[in-house]
């Protein structure tokens, strides 16, 4: 694939250079001319303008054809469906506007390319026209703004009445920890000033709410229940990015930030998703190819990939920023209950 693309790009570049060469040659025959464009230049560049808008269209089509499948699969959270809907509507809108305006721009550049004797039209003002293309964006954008704001407030105004599962996401250079509230679903107080030995997150061991807190390095979430994340950072800014759930919030030292969502698809369900199956197959093909090369060099091959949700750091945080991740497992309530029962509470951990 890569080789094919490289070849394609080089061929395109070659064609471009060849065309340039032609222009160059043609213009050279008019050596006596100055460095100001003449009719020949206008004609040539006018046609190239027309070619260029077609190039933009083809580039878009080729990109969708080649890479349409790399995009994120359907949302695995409740609110994400709303975001995807808004995204799609905005996307269609900007594509329509983009295709039309790019066409007009380049087509006019082609159509009205200069010719000796051609008279330009003195057209300095037209209040009606200008009013129209001020008011149309106003109306369209008003619609988008209102739609967007409703979506945004729905996501960000967190209603604690429906008893969300409270989970702390704790970021530090260069890893994540998750802390569950335990049986009381309430997080104990914590501060970086209390970090000591096994108490990695600086939880206040004297706080009664903290006793049943559970600290883990793999995030398990029961499907269908709202999760309220409380984000904390130990050192620098991090950002908890969970692309499949359309969720992201910065982790800021000195304050607790929050984000809530309801996962709607278990990891197993997501693995059955057609887009994911295709994507994983594609990735494994690539990994197999890469492994061949590695094995030939006498190195270890790559392991095959299975899909898992992931939490990434998405705010530059230091040298290993590129590898600050945590696995997220969404499972049924029963599986979740069984898993959490196995985890040691903070009281148990600190006693050891």
């Amino acid at each position: 694939m890569t080789a094919f693309l490289v070849v394609l790009v080089i061929i395109l570049f070659g064609v471009a250079v060849w065309q340039m060469g032609k222009i160059f040659q043609l213009s050279k025959s008019h050596q006596e001319d100055s460095e100001v464009a003449n009719d020949k230049d206008n004609n040539m560049n006018g046609w190239l303008m027309l070619g260029f808008v077609i190039f933009i269209y083809i580039l878009s089509i080729v990109c969708f054809w080649l890479w349409g499948d790399v995009m994120l699969p359907e949302s695995a959270s409740e609110h994400g469906v709303g975001i995807d809907q808004l995204w799609l509507i905005s996307m269609i809108l900007i594509f329509v506007v983009g295709i039309v305006t790019q066409w007009l721009l380049h087509y006019f550049a082609f159509k009205y390319r200069g010719r000796k004797g051609q008279r330009a039209v003195f057209f300095a003002d037209n209040d009606k026209l200008e009013f129209i293309w001020t008011i149309i964006p106003v109306i369209v954008l008003a619609g988008l703004i209102i739609y967007g704001l409703f979506t945004w407030t729905d996501i960000m105004n967190i209603d604690t009445e429906d008893d969300p599962l409270v989970v702390e996401l704790y970021a530090y250079q260069f890893d994540w920890r998750a802390r569950y509230g335990g049986e009381d679903n309430t997080l104990g107080e914590a501060s970086v000033r209390l970090i000591e030995g096994a108490n990695q997150l600086g939880v206040d061991a004297a706080d009664p709410n903290a006793q049943d807190d559970i600290v883990v390095n793999e995030l398990h979430l029961p499907v269908g229940r709202k999760v309220l994340f409380k984000m904390r950072s130990q050192d620098v800014l991090h950002s908890a990015y969970m692309p499949h759930f359309r969720a992201q919030m910065n982790c800021v030292p000195g304050m607790i930030t929050q984000f809530a969502f309801t996962p709607t698809k278990t990891t197993l369900e997501m693995r059955e998703n057609e887009e994911i199956i295709a994507k994983v197959a594609k990735i494994n093909n690539i990994r197999k190819e890469n492994s061949k090369a590695l094995l030939a060099k006498g190195e270890e091959g790559l392991e095959p990939y299975t899909f898992d949700y992931m939490l990434l750091c998405n705010k530059i945080c230091g040298n290993n920023h590129y590898n600050m991740q945590m696995k997220i497992i969404v499972e049924t309530q029963e599986e979740y209950d069984a898993w959490i029962a196995e985890q040691a509470t903070l009281a148990q951990t600190l006693k050891q």
């Binding site: 222009i23 460095e35 506007v97 001020t134 000033r193 620098v236 800021v252």
Partner: protein
């Protein structure tokens, strides 16, 4: 007011009927002449641009072929490229300095500094800037800050590497990243000096535009270039000081133990004493400049484009007043949208709503500008000079990049693409490439003004444009896709996530296009340097333009016009204007009416 200023200027000129004898140093180095200072800005900016673009090529190589060893890393990066493997810390340093250099040193100083200096006095009919001395200081402060920024590349622990936005605590704590030691100190010192330079320059531009316009040059007769430079300077004066305060507070946090931006930090095995500060405060201060900065970069490019499109279309710019109003609206709105960089920073979600509202509003004047450019082309007689091609290219990338801004400015949509490559693609198209096109357009168009009548080779210009145009879209269009796949920016390699393995070939394609586009810039550099010495001389007014600069002497003299300063009788856009009985142009056989031409008998008077 302008009439009075004109008298003063005329007196001034008479006093200096005999020019001072100039030495090499006063003419080429510590020059107070705006034309020389503009060339100094341009050449310094281009030099910094070479560094910035070379850096981007290095990290693009790393992104495309993360497992490959390249000898060139070892040659250029020394101990950070040992054995041909790029160190993660130098990767972050490269993206940081690339961003800093391109945004501030190339597109702020190199673009606005160059053309504000060259064109403000020439297009408003002034002998020089209001204060030639401050102007000189402004350039030399810029030069000093460039030197410090380049020197910071050579410090022991590496240059600043916390991203060009230098968010603390990462930028405040050398324990967090090695680049936050001496490298960051130098970065801050360099930027503080840069801000001083920018303020001196901007104040000078504002005063000059307001006070030194020649007789007849009312504000509504100003070419749009001048409007753009003027408003850009105003935005700079309003917002740059805030960055200075952010930088000063950060210096205090770093050196004097204060806690403006730091609180509750446990790093390298110990708790820091800092308490009560907030990194979010820094983000507010930074983006209070950072967002207007986008328009500080873009408005001059749009001003240049307006002038060039009108001249080369042989038509007046469509909707002059709407264009001015758009510039004013963009400038005003640009200072109240900064929060859209911070939707998920932890600030109150209500603020997010407000900033979404203001951000999407800014799309309206931007749309008006784009439509007006397109209408200006309509039924024109387009002269496809290289400057015109770059101007059309600018409108194209401005539209493409602007449209994705509608997605990013929507707080709900920003959640999932924030800090991904989608953002990188968006801002590179809308401000990076667009502003660079503006810079190139300006250089091709005003080269004869800068280098005493010499013109750049048009054929090389065509090759430069077309290869760059293809390369730029080739780089940034596919980049949207890896952003929509959820790939975060500023990752040294994506191999830590098997999930992103299928993006590897996209990255290869992007890098190849980046190399193609960069190769075209070599053609430009060759053309620029060779034309400086051997370029063909054109006529005094090679593009048949209306504006005043083409009435000034071709040979650079102190005071621009050998005789008295010309008076202005009309706006700058009387291209292809017909006489009353529509039998011919106002001036028979000539499709343009320079601003210095009084109203003709057979001519209908317009509003300007």
């Amino acid at each position: 007011m302008s009439a009075h200023a004109h008298d003063l200027a005329a007196d001034h000129h008479d006093d200096h009927g005999h020019h001072h004898k100039e030495t090499f140093i006063t003419k080429y180095i510590f020059s107070q002449d705006h034309k020389m200072i503009s060339k100094q800005y341009l050449i310094t900016g281009l030099f910094m641009g070479i560094i910035g673009i070379a850096m981007s090529l290095l990290f693009r190589m790393q992104l495309a072929w993360p497992d490959q060893e390249f000898k060139v890393y070892e040659i250029l990066l020394g101990k950070w490229g040992e054995g041909g493997v790029m160190d993660p810390s130098v990767y972050l340093a490269l993206v940081t300095i690339h961003g800093t250099i391109m945004v501030f040193f190339v597109l702020t100083a190199g673009l606005s500094g160059t053309f504000s200096n060259l064109l403000i006095p020439l297009q408003i009919g002034a002998r020089d800037m209001a204060s030639g001395f401050l102007n000189m200081i402004s350039y030399w402060l810029f030069f000093l800050s460039s030197v410090i920024m380049v020197l910071s590349l050579f410090v022991e622990a590496g240059p600043a590497s916390a991203g060009w936005t230098i968010y603390p605590p990462l930028s405040a704590l050398p324990q967090a990243i090695p680049g936050s030691g001496t490298g960051m100190t130098l970065w801050l010192v360099s930027m503080a000096i840069f801000i001083a330079s920018s303020l001196l320059g901007s104040l000078n531009y504002i005063v000059t535009v307001l006070n030194l316009r020649t007789k007849g040059m009312s504000m509504t007769r100003l070419p749009l270039t001048i409007w753009a430079f003027f408003i850009t300077a105003v935005i700079g004066v309003v917002s740059f000081p805030v960055l200075l305060s952010a930088a000063l507070l950060l210096i205090m946090d770093r050196g004097f133990g204060t806690s403006f931006f730091l609180s509750d930090i446990y790093i390298a095995g110990e708790v820091l004493h800092n308490q009560g500060g907030s990194p979010v405060l820094f983000e507010h201060l930074f983006w209070f400049l950072g967002h207007p900065e986008v328009y500080i970069v873009l408005l001059p490019a749009l001003g240049i484009t307006s002038e060039i499109i009108a001249t080369n279309s042989r038509k007046p710019i469509f909707g002059y007043r709407a264009m001015v109003a758009s510039i004013l609206a963009i400038a005003f709105l640009s200072t109240i949208v900064w929060g859209h960089h911070m939707f998920i920073s932890g600030m109150n979600p209500f603020l997010g709503s407000v900033f979404t509202f203001t951000t999407l509003l800014i799309a309206i004047p931007s749309a008006v500008k784009a439509f007006n450019y397109i209408t200006t082309l309509w039924k024109g007689n387009l002269q496809m000079n290289p400057a015109m091609l770059f101007s059309i290219g600018l409108v194209s990338t401005f539209i493409t990049g602007g449209l994705t801004g509608i997605l990013l400015g929507d707080s709900a949509l920003d959640i999932n693409v924030h800090d991904t490559y989608f953002v990188v693609a968006h801002f590179h198209l809308v401000m990076g490439i667009s502003a660079l096109y503006g810079l190139f357009a300006g250089v091709y168009h005003w080269f004869p003004k800068m280098f005493e009548g010499r013109m750049m080779n048009k054929n090389l210009g065509y090759i430069h444009f077309w290869v760059t145009a293809i390369g730029a879209y080739g780089v940034f269009f596919p980049m949207h896709f890896i952003g929509m796949a959820g790939l975060p920016r500023r990752y040294y390699t994506n191999t830590a996530f098997p999930y992103f393995d299928d993006l590897a070939d996209v990255n290869v394609v992007i890098t190849i296009f980046a190399f193609i586009a960069a190769a075209a810039q070599v053609i430009f550099l060759y053309n620029f340097i060779s034309s400086m010495f051997f370029g063909k001389k054109g006529s005094k007014n090679p593009w048949n333009s209306n504006t005043l600069e083409w009435t000034a002497e071709v040979k650079h003299i102190h005071g621009n016009w050998d005789g008295p300063i010309p008076h202005v009788y009309r706006w700058a856009y009387d291209y292809s204007k017909l006489n009353k009985d529509e039998s011919d142009y106002v001036i028979p056989g000539q499709d343009f009416v320079p601003q210095t031409t009084p109203l003709q008998d057979n001519e209908e008077e317009m509003n300007h």
